[in-house]
């Protein structure tokens, strides 16, 4: 037993303490969080625009008069559909490599490229979550807003959006958890993220257990913290259900 413990602490020292190797993990963690955070923001931005274009088209196409505005909206609807098809139909790692080796071939800022690639990827999935959320709101809500004289945008903003947010939050949280873990492929384009750091330590020390378990635990902690935060937000948004008051 004692020798096992001794062995463990020796492994710990070798993998994390010697030559300050923990700094590799810390740096990797920083990159993982940086990429995840900004990719989520870009993803939401893209997703909101795409979901609005697609629902606005499907809500209003039948009653719009033919003309430039209708043609333009139709074009953007098709474009958004194509975007979702392509992103969902190809592996993320391929998208990442296309970004790194083709689209941004002249740039060497791997973190920036990863942010863009993961943001565009996440946007397609989140767009469908938000679109589903908008479609799940009863038609009467839009009609009630419009019948009071609010325009389409105002009704979306004040009536539909807050209800959508509440409904899609669990699915959205799930998507962000997936995204954080998916950034672990950033190493494919030489971005030193958390996974890359753990793998690098493994390559130096020739011991797999310590660095890989450490990396797994760190991901787990990030996800647990995120889950907790979303839970708090969800409870606050659920106020109007009349369950808490």
């Amino acid at each position: 037993m004692a020798s096992w413990l001794n062995d463990l602490s020796a492994q710990f020292k070798l993998n994390f303490i010697d030559k300050d190797r923990w700094r590799l993990l810390l740096n990797g963690l920083g990159n993982t969080l940086l990429i995840s955070l900004f990719a989520v923001l870009i993803g939401i931005l893209i997703a909101v625009v795409v979901a609005l274009v697609r629902t606005t088209w499907s809500n209003n196409a039948s009653r719009m008069r033919p003309g430039f505005r209708k043609g333009l909206l139709h074009f953007f609807d098709r474009l958004c559909g194509l975007y979702i098809t392509v992103i969902r139909g190809t592996p993320t790692v391929i998208q990442l490599m296309i970004m790194y080796y083709i689209v941004f071939a002249s740039s060497s800022d791997g973190v920036m490229i990863a942010i863009v690639a993961f943001g565009i990827n996440s946007g397609a999935y989140v767009a469908e979550i938000i679109r589903g959320g908008i479609l799940s709101i009863e038609k009467g809500q839009m009609e009630a807003g419009r019948s009071l004289g609010l325009n389409y945008a105002q009704t979306m903003l004040y009536i539909i959006a807050p209800q959508v947010l509440k409904n899609v939050l669990p699915a959205l949280a799930n998507e962000f958890i997936v995204l954080i873990k998916e950034t672990s492929i950033a190493g494919y384009v030489a971005v030193p993220d958390l996974t890359y750091a753990g793998n690098r330590i493994r390559g130096i020390t020739y011991s797999a257990f310590m660095p890989l378990i450490a990396v797994a635990l760190i991901y787990l902690v990030i996800v647990l913290v995120l889950t907790r935060l979303v839970g708090i937000l969800e409870r606050r948004l659920r106020q109007s259900d009349g369950r808490t008051s």
Binding site: E143, R146, L148, N151, Q163, S240
Partner: protein, 258 residues
Amino acid sequence: MTAGLHNTNRSGEPGEVLIRVEHLKKHFGSLEVLRDVSQEIRRGQKVVLLGPSGSGKTTFLRCLNLLEEPTGGKIYFEGQDITAPHVNIDALRSKMCMVFQQFNLFPHLTIRKNITLAPVKLKLQSREEAEANCEKLLKRVGLYDKIDAYPRQLSGGQQQRIAIVRAMAMNPDVMLFDEPTSALDPEMVGEVLSVMEQLALDGMTMVVVTHEIGFAREVADHVVFMDGGVIVEQGTAAEVLDRPQMQRTQDFLRKVLK
């Protein structure tokens, strides 16, 4: 009148034509729901639309504020052709508010917010004015204690009374009711109808689609019976309900009153 539910601070003579509908047609695909309906609604009038389901009465009502876009014909509101292209429909809708069968309160907002949102966001009233108006109206319908509740905490009848208050808070020129009591439990119908009766006494112009014959008899000064997308018969409540001339009206009333 200042003590009434409805602020009659708008210009306009009682009795002038408020809404004029000319040869209104509406198709849903190949289904003809309205075929050539013409009707005038005068300021202060209470018009009740009766008819079997599928007769087009709800579609007619929804065409008035363009929730359904007419396939043909014209609708004039306060002299303006609202079926013309590039009409600011939002400004018009704020003057002809609708009460729905399913209430359609905003579930994420308190009653206070439900009522004050539109007047404040549309800058028709300051927040203080809107709040004061909201409190006054809620006291009138006996729901002031619910002002900070959420819709889900209210009964159906209470929700529909709030929906009526929400429409009234806009100070509209006309209110449209789309089967306002059809989704209610029987014991809650009365409280909603009494709010509507009060509103009628205060001089509000009302267009009401309903199956409540009693309400039509009490309140309506014009009853329109529709069937198959056309107006079959119209006149005073006594004329249409007590001495119907047309066979279809008689059949309908016999079934409803049975």
